[in-house]
Each structure stands twice: as C-alpha cells, then as structure tokens.
Symmetry: C2
Subunit: 95 residues, 2 copies
C-alpha cells in the first residue's frame, strides 16, 4: 500500500515540476511533450519505459506522431504518490 500525497504535498511537488499539472479527473500528474517527430517520440518512450520498468512504476500514455501525453498515478494509492513525483523527475531528466 502506497500513501497518496496530501493536497499540500501535491502542491509542493508540482512547484518543483513546472511542466506538470494535476489532472483531477484522472487523479494524475499530466504532461504533454512535443517532440520533433514520431521517431523522437518513440525514442523517448523507450527510454522512459526502461526507467519505469526498473522502478516498477508505469506511466499511462498516449502517442500521436510527435505528441506524447503522459499521466502518472498510483493505483494502489488511488491518487498520485511519491512514486509519481519520482517518475515525473526521471521523465523530465530524459526529455
């Protein structure tokens, strides 16, 4: 069981993650990334996938050509948790 972030913790986390917003409907952190083309988008997805698998925490994502929409949430917590903060930071470092 993973604890969800409190509203205050979530606000603090987003302050350090300027590319992410909180999607209240999906109870997830959300970021859209626009890449150069499909190849670049898939390349980024692969690099994120390796890190996600290593952390055993996986994104929900949609790719359309050069566009990548990512949602991070923790199903065990029913909302975002520290695990999503960590994965968001990993993704930001890879972009």
């Amino acid at each position: 069981m993973v604890a969800p972030l409190t509203t205050e913790q979530r606000t603090d986390a987003l302050a350090s993650l300027p590319h992410w917003i909180y999607d209240a409907h999906r109870r997830a952190f959300y970021r859209r990334i626009l890449l150069k083309d499909f190849s670049a988008a898939i390349g980024l997805m692969m690099r994120v996938a390796l890190e996600a698998e290593k952390a055993d925490h996986h994104p929900e994502w949609t790719n359309v050509y050069n566009k990548l929409d990512i949602w991070l949430t923790t199903h065990d917590a029913g909302d975002v948790s520290e695990r999503d903060v960590n994965l968001a930071k990993v993704i930001d470092a890879l972009v």
Copy 2:
C-alpha cells in the same frame, strides 16, 4: 492525397480484420491488445513503431501497463484508407 475507403470497402476490409472495429467517432480502425505485462506491451509497440516508420504511416495509441489501444486513421483522407488496412495487417502479424 489519399482516398478514404468507401463504406463498402471498409466493410470488406474489416471482414478480413476480425480483431478490428470501426470507431465512427474517431473515423479510425480500433483494436485493443492485452499483453502479458508492460514489457511485452512496450516490446510490441517498438516492433510496430519500426514498421510504421518504414511505411511512414503511424498509429495513434494508448498504453496502460499491459493494455494497448490502437487507432488507425489517415489524416490526409479524413478517414480510414488502404494505408490503415495495411498497417492493421502488419500489427496483427506482429501480435
């Protein structure tokens, strides 16, 4: 410019693509694929990505852990075209 399939052509195409349905809202062929886990889903996405790039025709897709939802449509045609039929066949062969 790519011609969209006529309704009859689309019906014929789907008869040979039993895993796919026509998503009228998105004017796209749609298939959901359930894999063993995230690694398997990403592996399939990579194999599809290589073929898509080769054909210069790309899927719209969403991945959540072991689940992969794929929509195929041709923006130049404003609907599905022969290119989507071909990519659907390629995907089916890779699954």
